[in-house]
Symmetry: D2
Subunit: 222 residues, 4 copies
């Protein structure tokens, strides 16, 4: 995981589904090449394979089920997701919160399969708790700011700064990403100045008129 | 949905994931062509697109989340699944039981998107309740028999027979499938004799040494 | 269950917890005696025993877990709730929606323990589905109206009327209660005129300055 | 929380429900007085009030919902549980696992209400993660040993020892309890020798012919 890093959570918007998921991947790939900044696509599961076929982007799942091969109808096996093309996954996103024991299991599954784990957290306390699992990254996102367009780096800078401090005090190699409300170059610059190693973002880019330009703007002040 | 119908639930076995999911789809396609019996693949979400690209099989999702476009990280939108290639879905499988209101929502979503809905139930009472939603099919599977190899048609024939009667008394056009423990031609024959319109099966075929032959055997007594 | 019936869902308000739960029970008991209308208290589990000790009100649990005796830490056994004093239970409230198979299990548990079951539903379709389980009552509450003070009998009269028709067409002995937004005598009168056998209400009474008077007003137009 | 401490999880057995819950409380009270060891009852919610009325035992809830006053039908408010008589709670028991953010919330609720928090964990990694929340106690219970009668102190002594070390390295004031399979004096002695501050136990005592004698035996080698 080269830093600074930009992870784009596609969520389940029509603007980031199917063919449009692929178009968004092209935008990410192109913005990444032009800027030299690592950009990761995190699409819905059904779109992973076709994005992998057509781009060389790193792809993260939005979630991995805490299961091993067997009878788990409706779930997704990590082995299947890796074969489809992921090199990492978001874990415990605020729209898909997981049980503590399951987060532990999935971080271990990621390590066993040599893929990257980025665990989402909602505050400083849970960021520190998750750091003890030694994931590759922690993305802190106060849930009350998600989707608001109000950047956490501005509304609650101490959440970012203290999360960075607490996480690095447990293990300095864990990356800390800043989520919730990030969309502009100023937002990302502010996040980096607070000690973040990158950003996790969603609707600000997915719903932009020109996602590639929005991405280039995002990284323009690094 | 032409009957008799065979739906193969791939679940999350290694034998039905990734490349092997595709091989299993070829076996289904070939067995369907040779026998003239409708066969449906129900793979993990990550494998839907590649099976659709390479075969003309009908594909069912194993589950659809009760959501509409928006912020639902880690879920799968019906629009995305349809674009990837599904023409129907299992709903409320015993390994993924759903809330009543969510089953209603997903059956309605399937109707709105013109895809087929096959709701799994665990006994006669829930089969009748689900029939009031008018899905395309109900698949009754006593959970204590799933994965045992003991066919419900033999262990609890009255569950199949009474489910057929109760469902058809609500709406005679709803298909009733028989699940749990079905794997041989005798099992499927017995299910049809009890009034079933087809079968939902999984490990008996997925883990067979030669799935195509196992499928041909399954439909050999129709 | 004598009709018309008034069930008061205490929910988890401070105004209906602990000593105040008991005071509210006294108000219900007194209003019931003065009006001759059956009134049921549905308090939090921790308050059931003390209300039973001090009043002769019928008490419903707000929820029953779909379990039998064994290792289920944090759950509540129906046997324990009955011994504490309940004579019935709400099931599947919109703030605590249950899986279809679990609703079936809990309705059966209620029958086995000779207590009354009142299953909450969100629309006409789920009301009809639940009627096939033959509970003692169905309480229909469009979730978008709960807590709004806008009575369903006024905003969506057809939901009440059609739920009554569909439920009674399955089993005419099932009572249909009207929930969501009910608080005044006019609201209850309108609900009864639409065919309801009673009402399920909450904040309108719990948060009233004088709950007894609010209850007497509620039943003043019957 | 005086140590050594014995917490008895009543779970949802018939042997520990209703009147029998009270009898078990008398056994705990009597064994505690005779031995001088702190013993805590953790009954079902419906039995908290009557145990509080009749004994002076410390009482823990088996679970607290992560809610504040409002519309949460079927849940239990911490305020109501405290008023009924609890002075602490188990949190995240393996039979009732919670989401990470909810564990954080409930530990904070316990602190705000001045009651004790005992968070259950399934292994060394989750014990360490929970320690960062600074609860009063962590009870480590490998789920595969719960209810087996095989004491964790014997089957996996390193789980107890390493959990103690990891938890105390985060905050030396957090008590570490040993759960899963403990029932005899030798089991408890072994747990204490591995560094535990007490034990969390259930069926071994609940189902004993004479629970008081079983409790006295349990603490006989301290």
């Amino acid at each position: 995981m080269n830093t600074p890093i930009v992870i784009l959570n596609y969520k389940t918007y029509l603007e980031s589904s199917g063919k449009k998921a692929l178009e968004l991947a092209y935008a990410l790939e192109s913005a990444s090449e032009e800027s030299g900044i690592t950009m990761v696509a995190s699409p819905q599961v059904a779109d992973i394979y076709r994005i992998k076929e057509k781009t060389s982007l790193p792809i993260f799942a939005q979630h991995i089920d805490p299961i091993t091969p067997g009878g788990h109808t409706g779930s997704n096996l990590i082995e299947t997701l890796v074969e489809a093309g992921i090199s990492g996954s978001l874990i415990n996103h605020s729209e898909n919160r997981m049980k503590l024991a399951d987060i532990d299991d999935v971080v271990q599954l990621c390590k066993a399969h040599n893929i990257e784990s980025c665990v989402c957290t909602n505050n400083i306390a849970t960021s520190k708790a998750i750091a003890t699992f030694n994931p590759d990254a922690v993305a802190v996102e106060p849930p009350e700011l998600i989707g608001t367009g109000i950047p956490v780096s501005q509304a609650q800078p101490e959440v970012v700064e203290d999360s960075v401090n607490e996480v690095k005090s447990i293990n300095k190699d864990i990356k800390v990403l800043c989520g919730a409300g990030i969309s502009t170059g100023d937002d990302m610059r502010a996040a980096m100045d607070l000690g973040a190693d990158g950003v996790l973002l969603a609707s600000g880019i997915v719903k932009a008129e020109n996602p590639k330009n929005a991405l280039l703007d995002l990284v323009s002040k690094l």
